[in-house]
Symmetry: C2
DNA sequence: TTCCCTGCAAAGGTTTTGCAATTAA
DNA sequence: TTAATTGCAAAACCTTTGCAGGGAA
């Protein structure tokens, strides 16, 4: 945790930005809720416990800045608000998502299934892939009363 | 074209809705720009030629209604506006998209690459797949000065 | 000092809603 | 007839921006 904050601090400083108390509080909220795909409003509510004086605009600016630094992934699941996801700094692409249409849960699959297709895209479609996004909508294990599958614990 | 409108008319009527002139004009615009992923504003501009008196709210309401009937797919590519895509009524899932980060073009891949993964999801992740979404971001053939690949003409 | 950063309030852009009038079935 | 539908304007939302004050190097 601390080392991850330290790393983010360095990323900020290397671009001339500062890790202010507000930014640090925001990052901590994101780290503590890493699985959750929080919206800006969600982050704002949570970060107010740590830094009650913070303004919503600051949260938006921080999330925007961290997205530009590729610390975060800004995402849109179609419910009208942007959501943010901490990025594994070693993985080139984002995770795949399992979105439950019943309870709204979003689980992540940490494997990358798309490598072979990206090769095909370059060769057959003349398309140079920089990133991808793969989401599945359906019914999650909670809503069909099955235990948590091992597969979802693999990488976290 | 006419038979597709007739079919949509029947879908509407079976749920107690009417195919008004405004709705028909909107559907025609969507059919004529099937490859284009139009925003509500785009549709509004185009539909005004056919029905100049139409209001933007009516376009929004029509798009929302058609999405509920699964005639359209409401989609969000992250630029702050919803975009709409006619749905093949015989295909269970949406298309895959190639989104160019340079010129903004969105091409479609008509094949479904994900069947084998969906089986894995049900078995290993206890996730019952209803739909999916696969988008690639990168540089399209136009922006890298290559001809249009045959692969993009396959199914249309 | 100097530049970055903040909170607040105002503005921006997209989408939804209330309402009285109109219209398709 | 009558329930659905429309256009307009206002409202609701999420997000961004302008600005004056504050703070770290």
């Amino acid at each position: 945790m601390e080392t991850r904050i330290e790393k983010i601090k360095q990323q900020l400083q290397s671009q001339g930005y500062k890790l202010t108390p507000q930014r640090e509080a925001t990052v901590r909220v994101l780290l503590e809720n890493e699985q959750d795909h929080l919206s800006a409003e969600d982050v704002f509510m949570l970060v107010k416990d740590k830094a009650p004086e913070i303004g919503l605009a600051t949260v938006y600016r921080t999330l925007e800045l961290l997205s530009e630094l590729h610390v975060l992934e800004k995402m849109n699941f179609g419910d009208g608000v942007a959501r943010y996801d901490l990025r594994d700094d070693n993985s080139r692409h984002h995770h795949h998502h399992l979105i439950c249409v019943q309870c709204g849960a979003v689980d992540e699959i940490m494997e990358d299934w798309l490598g072979p297709f990206e090769e095909r895209l370059e060769q057959e479609f003349y398309f140079q892939v920089l990133d991808h996004r793969l989401d599945f909508q359906g019914i999650c294990y909670r809503c069909s009363d099955r235990g948590k599958p091992d597969s979802l614990n693999k990488s976290h």
